[in-house]
């Protein structure tokens, strides 16, 4: 079966700095040669720390930013070749929910208009028919009926995120890119929103590309996980396999850094030295080598390790 979404060798490079006087345009390789796929009804989590390129990748897959190179296929069709009506049609099938429930909703619009906007744009409903479509969506995400005529400021963070989810659901998409949808929420509210996402997936067969830096959330939600570091995928596996055994030293460090809410837990902390390098001046060879406890000079600082072709794929010369 063809995957619902398939990205091959996608790169997104942004030109930076210098101005028009400087020679030799510099670029940030925000996303560098990334391949991944998402099956129908599946959750692929994209994890990594700030600036690793996960949000840019998510946006490139929806063509909210243009990939510099590579190919993205949705249900078999190359989305970079679509335009006009075909692209709009495609946009119905893939939606996005953003991190910040405060800035991602227009404060001047009512909940009816926010959730129903897509339906109106696509000419699918208006007036009373719109209300009839919006009401069950609000109910489905657990918002009160009278939410319809109110504006975003009247809602809590968790409720706003539900509005964002209702908006994404309005056009019956097959894929939703969730970009840190719960990281601005308190844990008790986060749990409510995560449960909602899981239920919706079961009921509607949705696929999620779930972008997050929170490994606890990812473990709970994802079927498969891809770990990114400085624009590249360094490890990719089923959630079971990855949480049972990290093959890439960075994934291992990332997981061991998560504070565990159990004072008796024996900490096996693997601290990595220093900070992530700037994507403006990525290290030679493996981008992780300056911080890596396993790095071997002469190899890791010279060659870029490719993502292996295994079920539990890893981009490391000395994987576990």
């Amino acid at each position: 079966m063809t995957p619902l979404l398939e990205a091959s060798r996608v790169s997104v490079h942004f030109p930076v700095g210098g101005g028009w006087l400087s020679r030799g345009r510099r670029v940030v390789r925000a996303v560098d040669d990334v391949s991944l796929s998402v099956a129908r009804g599946e959750t692929l989590a994209l994890v990594g720390e700030s600036g690793c390129g996960k949000s840019t990748l998510g946006r490139a897959l929806l063509r909210l930013v243009e990939p510099t190179s590579g190919e993205v296929r949705f249900d078999g069709a190359d989305i970079s070749r679509l335009d006009g009506a075909a692209l709009r049609q495609l946009r119905r099938r893939m939606q996005i929910v953003f991190q910040d429930p405060y800035s991602s909703l227009d404060p001047r619009m009512t909940v009816r208009d926010i959730v129903g906007e897509g339906l109106v744009i696509h000419g699918l409903a208006r007036g009373a028919a719109l209300d009839a479509q919006v009401a069950p969506l609000l109910e489905r995400v657990g918002l009160p009926r009278d939410a319809m005529g109110r504006r975003p400021h009247a809602f809590s963070g968790g409720q706003r995120q539900r509005i964002g989810i209702a908006r994404a659901l309005a056009l019956s998409p097959e894929l939703i890119v969730c970009d840190e949808p719960t990281s601005a929420l308190d844990v008790s509210v986060q749990a409510q929103v995560l449960n909602l996402l899981v239920e919706l997936q079961r009921e509607l067969g949705l696929a999620y590309l779930f972008i997050s830096h929170d490994l606890k959330v990812v473990e709970h939600l994802a079927h498969r996980v891809a770990v990114m570091y400085l624009g590249r995928i360094v490890e990719r596996a089923s959630a079971e396999a990855l949480f049972a055994r990290r093959r890439h030293p960075y994934s291992d460090a990332l997981l061991s850094a998560v504070p565990v809410p159990d004072p008796r837990a024996k900490r096996r902390r693997l601290t990595v030295a220093g900070e992530p390098p700037s994507p403006l001046s990525p290290p030679s060879g493996c981008a992780f080598h300056p911080r890596c406890p396993r790095a071997q000079p002469g190899r890791c600082d010279v060659e870029v390790p490719a993502l292996s072709d295994e079920e539990h794929a890893v981009a490391c010369f000395f994987p576990a």
Binding site: S50, S156, V187, V217, E219, A239, P263, P276
Partner: protein, 327 residues
Amino acid sequence: MSEVALSLSGLTVSFASERGRVRAVDDVGFDLVRGETLGLVGESGCGKSVTSLSLLRLLDPDVARIERGEARLGDVELLSMGERELSRIRGARVAMIFQEPMTSLNPVYTVGAQIDEAIRLHRRVSRRQARARTIELLSRVKIPAPEARADAYPHELSGGMRQRVMIAMALACDPEVLIADEPTTALDVTIQAEILELLGELQRAMGMAILLVTHDLGVVAEVASRVVVMYAGRVVERGPVDALFAQPLHPYTAGLFRSIPPVGASRDGGARRKLPTIEGVVPSLRELPRGCRFEPRCPARQARCAAEEPSLEARGDRDVRCHFPLA
């Protein structure tokens, strides 16, 4: 013997709002012990920051008013002392770091100049002596090449480095108490791990008491020895970390723990379990329930809970504000 560095009691703080004053913090108290970290936890808006800012009277006096309370630092009381006296304590005996170091650093001065100034504010030393101390502090917080970094501007440093600079500045005068309000919340987990470790090391070396304000129970479990849980402006539970995490007594604390996705245990044969949640949302300070503030959301509530607010009662080495504690 545990020696109390700072003792807060009865803190009550109100804010002006369009419809009269609201109490954001109501009768909050705790002891900060020398050499120990106390975690102050709770969800957004429960009053953690208002509490910590009150200790140094850093709230905007136009809207905020400390109605009541005492904060004893050795022989002095912080909440009633004169502003002049307090300014000699702020930054010297009690120092503070925040979530976003960028907002507390001045963008137009080098970080070295700002630490020099923090030192010279409280100590009579020459510029040269101050700079020597600045370099020492920067290396103490493990900033590589401290001489060179002292000449950097805040925006030239990463978030983690800026937080180290803030810590260096806070430690400039060997404070007895360090208040850290979400010091690692804006940082990536690998950087957070390093900063927490650094704070622990500095505490062991310098013996200061730390008040760590955080919403992350994982962070508390790792670094604090005692914890205060707040809900809607009230302390609902208080006690040693080990016991409190092993068996929370307040239904709210228990609900918070359960709603964290468990590590390594969320699957039953590949299927995702539903996470236990706390139903509903935190009440608005304007419409607080008459009885227990947690009553509308509490799975253990009984008739009495809506009628009468429980007081904070001792239970062994813990305190809990609930008519029907869980154990």
